[in-house]
Amino acid sequence: MVPRDGGIFAFFAFLALAAVLFWCYRKVKGGYKPYFRQIPALKGLEEAIGRAAEMGRPVHFTPGSDGFDSGTAGMTLAATICLAHIAKLCAQYDVRLLVSNRRPAVQPLTEEIVRQAFLAEGKLENFRPTDIRFFSDDQFAYASGVVGVISGEQTASNIMLGGFYAESLMFAEAGATYGNIQIAGTASTAQIPFFVTTCDYVLIGEELFAAAAVLSVDPAQVSTLMMQDIIRIALVCLIAIGALAATFGSDVIRQLILK
């Protein structure tokens, strides 16, 4: 067994993470209610879908440009978790939901999520498999497809969650041009400014990952949010100690992380 560079630290950090998660789970299960601030974008989801219901027009959703085989797969996963909630709301309000995919591997998953959500609400007859669309693996072919859906189907709301690249602004501008309520969420730092300038609500960075847990009342979900806060405080302390150590000429924290 040969540890990889930084592997020992990563392994113990992972164990610590799991231990903190377990501790948080026990605490939440025991009745502890942690305080979480409201995320406006999540309130905006109901507003966006409600508006589409009032206007009798569809909602558009895209889980972004990433699949499940890259380092940014977490964003796609978080987007699909939120899709389950969005599809449920659409089924409740009898709103048509259009989903646009770039990665073929995401296509069957999104189709099944939407189908199950409509089935759970007893509205399977409203589910159309052809509303869950795969366009192309090519970035701008996919972008053209999404812009075509927003303009051609006259959508009332445009929800973009996941990993995005240069196409993000094309989607957001198309949605703004056609007067859509727009909700975006990504941890791609280069695309956040585009979304902030063009969308009504934005889930910035970790808010995308926290969204699923906030939407849930399940203790296991709530405990992961609590774990994220504890880990964040620990990381800030580690960064502060590292900065102090570096100021006094010591690279002890750097060496520890590289082990």
């Binding site: 067994m1 040969v2 540890p3 990889r4 592997g7 020992i8 990563a10 992972f14 993470l17 998660l21 699949g67 499940f68 940014t72 977490g74 964003m75 996963l77 978080a78 978790i81 899709l83 389950a84 909630h85 995919n101 073929p104 591997a105 296509q107 069957p108 999520i113 939407v114 189908r115 199950q116 089935l119 759970a120 498999p129 052809t130 869950i132 669309r133 795969f134 701008f140 072919a141 972008a143 053209s144 240069a166 094309m170 957001a172 501008e173 941890a187 730092t189 300038t197 063009t198 910035i204 960075g205 970790e206 990952f209 699923a212 296991a220 979900q221 992961t224 994220q228 964040r232 990381l235």
Partner: protein, 205 residues
């Protein structure tokens, strides 16, 4: 069924996770094997994607309200299946395959990318309207950074590149690093939730 999927996820995920910490012969081989299975599954899903594209466009063709709506789905179907059949029967080095790639796909992609300039201008106009204090700060910082990036910016004010660099490196950089760290913690938490089966909403809708 969902429990079975969660178990499969756990069994496939743990070796891949362990192999990222250390090179353990059996575990690493297993992780590589699972990654190969992932590639095979991705191949199948590509086929499903092509079928979906065909059904959606065939549907659009069937439900057309006037003849103008025929062009788009016909072009997609002809190009899609034309390229698939050319690639399958004559290989990807066939001149027809190259012709479409070089003379259709590449120019269209370049056009798509170049359109971003117009979208950026329109988004900048919307963002730079001074409606509140935040928008005013954004406007001032944006103007300083843009001026520093044009050839005569430095001639207007010699310290402009320094100010721009300070805004990008200190203010923008620290905010971005905060977002990146938060995003990484969130991604790890999501992965952990899926791995241990706490998160199953993506399996049941």
């Amino acid at each position: 069924m969902n429990t079975l999927i969660a178990i499969v996820g756990l069994v496939a995920g743990v070796p891949i996770l362990l192999s990222s910490f250390a090179e353990i012969p059996v575990i690493s081989d297993l992780a590589q094997e699972f990654q190969r299975w992932g590639i095979i599954l991705a191949g199948f899903s590509t086929f499903l994607g092509v079928l979906n594209l065909t059904f959606v466009n065939a549907n659009a063709l069937r439900r057309r309200k006037h003849t103008g709506q025929v062009i788009e789905p016909v072009v997609v179907l002809v190009m899609l299946w034309g390229l698939v059949l050319t690639g399958v029967f004559f290989g990807q080095t066939h001149p027809a395959y190259d012709f479409v790639f070089e003379n259709v796909l590449k120019p269209l992609s370049a056009s798509g990318f170049s359109m971003l300039a117009f979208f950026i201008a329109s988004a900048a106009y919307r963002a730079f309207r001074v409606r509140n204090v935040d928008a005013a700060i954004l406007l001032v910082c944006g103007c300083l950074v843009m001026l520093a990036n044009i050839p005569f910016g430095e001639q207007l004010w010699s310290d402009l590149p320094f100010v721009s660099d300070w805004i990008m490196r200190i203010i923008n950089g620290s905010a971005m690093k905060g977002i990146v760290i938060g995003g990484a913690i969130g991604a790890i938490a999501t992965a952990l939730k899926v791995l241990v089966g706490v998160e199953r909403s993506h399996l049941r809708g």
